[in-house]
Amino acid sequence: MAMQVVAEPIQRLIEALTRLPGIGPKSASRLAFYLLRAPAEQVQELAAAIGELQESIVYCSRCQNLSQQDPCEICSDPSRDMHIICVVEEPLDVVAIERTGVYHGLYHVLHGVINPVEGIRPEDLRIESLLERKEKEPIREVLIATNPTMEGEATAMYLARLLRSGGVRVTRLARGLPVGGDLEYADEVTLSRALEGRREM
């Protein structure tokens, strides 16, 4: 039997943190001990934010982004350009593109990319709802902004074939983003250029 060196609540927190992506045992214990010594308000604020996370967040039934309301703020904003949809992998990509301030259309969030090794096939992504939007909404252009990784390219190609009919332009972010890189980490200037220099697929 292992000796109980660390008090049980700390051990429990460390274990919970270790399950998060990108956090190993070492950083988990660093975080745990940091929180132990942090001001009470800060810890309560964090606990509250985590607690409310899943209760207050819903999927927007139109663009599939995560939001506090359905339809989301962007989908219900009448000043947005309704003729163009930008397709992204993850909600954070929407944040990155909004930050550039050069794009004023709508979005569609796939929640992943085609990745057979991980068992992710087209039917696991929010593609069906995108095809429905193409039928129902006055779309003229679909801009595919998946990451320039092999899986992102595979998804872009797959979507392009499905979307390319009925007078809809299908475009792709310009190259220039680092290959294999994430939109999420691209700087604003690079991302703005990639948006402006998009090319026909």
Binding site: G24, N115, P116, P122, E123, M150, E153, A154
Partner: protein, 411 residues
């Protein structure tokens, strides 16, 4: 290009090594199990980011430190090139689940991918096990081709790495498709294109390399064997990259004779191979689906060594196999120097002892023709006095290296 300094920490039986290396020939003498092979393995690992012998990186970490809370191993090289010094280092760190290690590669202190490292310090390593090149498995021969080509041609290395990633994706998809659901043609399209795009670069370059290898190796082989029979080398691909099956061809093209005799195209362009590969993938779809994996492509390539009509793998004597393998290694040095633009560092791990006088003389000739060579031996007697006098001599005992002498200056 010269390796000026090597540092090892917790690498195999080297707990700590700081070694300055001289240009020209260095000879390291040591009894059995003192660290001769480990030293050359370390240099080869820094050059190719792979061990020539270990199955997993965990084997490389000194086994006494493996029990420590944070075990790691580090290899670092200072390489001099055009009067500039580049620093290459690889650290092996424990991965999440503790029995595996991940490697962190840095070039001049900046984190890089392993494939960025390959080629910065080209080496050719001769080992007694080289006979496996002829006698061993197709996988060992593909590895030989890949290590030589990756060190000479960064685009080859990138294409190969992308090919392997695409192959895993395509194989996973084939297995999912076999379980039912989904449209194979739609879902496979991207992976087929990507496989053909990257695989065609790999195949075209392999054919090119094998052609050069045959020319150089057959010359060496005549000298080594003192014989009359010409050594032939053939590319043995899994499909004929020079032909395109019809789109609706019923019978799957037979590969039996291809695997026997191989192909010998003067030159193959990537475009040509790409079209052929794609057509073969389409024609082979139902077989791939049934097998749940990709049956054709450079991951199934082989390389044949022949004397006359006979494949040395099956019919060669051990001695014939050894001679052919040695000829291929020597040829690799020449090709790398000419096509790669830099003479590689020659590493020879105790290969003299089992050779006769003629063959030793040829190796010595190779050793003295490159800017830097590092050779190990159990017995100084393997080398003649004049050569010893012009070499830097070191001994190794239990992971400790001692310098015995600097080379005698020629008057």
């Amino acid at each position: 290009m010269l390796l000026r300094h090597l540092s090892l920490t917790n690498f195999r039986n080297y707990v700590r090594l700081e070694l300055d290396l001289a240009p020209g020939l260095s000879i390291v003498q040591g009894e059995n199990a003192q660290g001769k092979s480990n030293l050359l393995e370390a240099i080869a690992y820094l050059a190719t980011s792979r061990s020539p012998r270990a199955g997993s990186d965990a084997e490389l970490v000194n086994w006494l430190v493996r029990e420590e809370p944070y075990p790691y191993a580090r290899l670092a090289a200072e390489v001099e090139k055009h009067q500039r010094v580049e620093r290459l280092d690889i650290t092996l760190l424990p991965a999440r689940n503790n029995h595996r290690y991940r490697k962190q590669v840095r070039i001049n202190g900046v984190n890089r991918r392993a494939i960025d490292l390959v080629g910065l310090m080209p080496v050719v390593l001769f080992r007694p096990e080289d006979v496996e090149l002829v006698a061993g498995t197709p996988q060992q021969r593909r590895r030989y081709l890949d290590i030589a080509l990756c060190q000479m041609e960064p685009p080859y290395c990138r294409a190969l790495s992308e090919y392997n990633k695409t192959l895993s994706q395509r194989n996973a998809l084939l297995r999912h498709l076999a379980e039912g659901g989904g449209d194979p043609v739609q879902e496979l399209r991207f992976w087929n294109d990507k496989l053909a795009e990257t695989g065609s670069l790999v195949m075209a370059k392999r054919q090119w390399f094998i052609n050069r290898l045959e020319r150089e190796a057959s010359l060496r082989h005549l000298d080594l064997s003192g014989g009359f029979e010409r050594l032939r080398l053939r590319y043995l691909p899994s499909f004929d990259p020079g032909i395109r099956p019809e789109p609706r061809q019923r019978r799957y093209p037979s590969t039996a004779s291809l695997r026997e005799r191989g192909v010998a195209y003067e030159a193959l362009t990537p475009e040509q191979v790409r079209a052929s590969f794609l057509a073969h993938l389409q024609a082979g779809l139902s077989r791939d689906l049934a097998a749940g994996m990709t049956l054709l492509g450079p991951h199934r390539d082989d390389l044949g060594f022949y004397l006359g009509e006979y494949n040395l793998r099956t019919y060669g004597s051990r001695g014939q196999q050894r001679t052919a393998a040695l000829a291929a290694r020597l040829a690799e040095v020449t090709i790398m120097t000419e096509a790669g633009g830099t003479a590689p560092i020659l590493l020879m791990d105790d290969v003299m002892s089992e050779l006769d006088a003629t063959r030793r003389a040829m190796l010595v000739e190779a050793l003295t023709s490159v800017p830097q060579a590092i050779v190990t031996t159990t017995d100084w007697e393997d080398f003649q006095t004049p050569l010893l006098e012009h070499a830097t001599r070191l001994t190794v005992h239990a992971g400790q290296l001692t310098r015995l002498s600097a080379p005698v200056e020629t008057a």
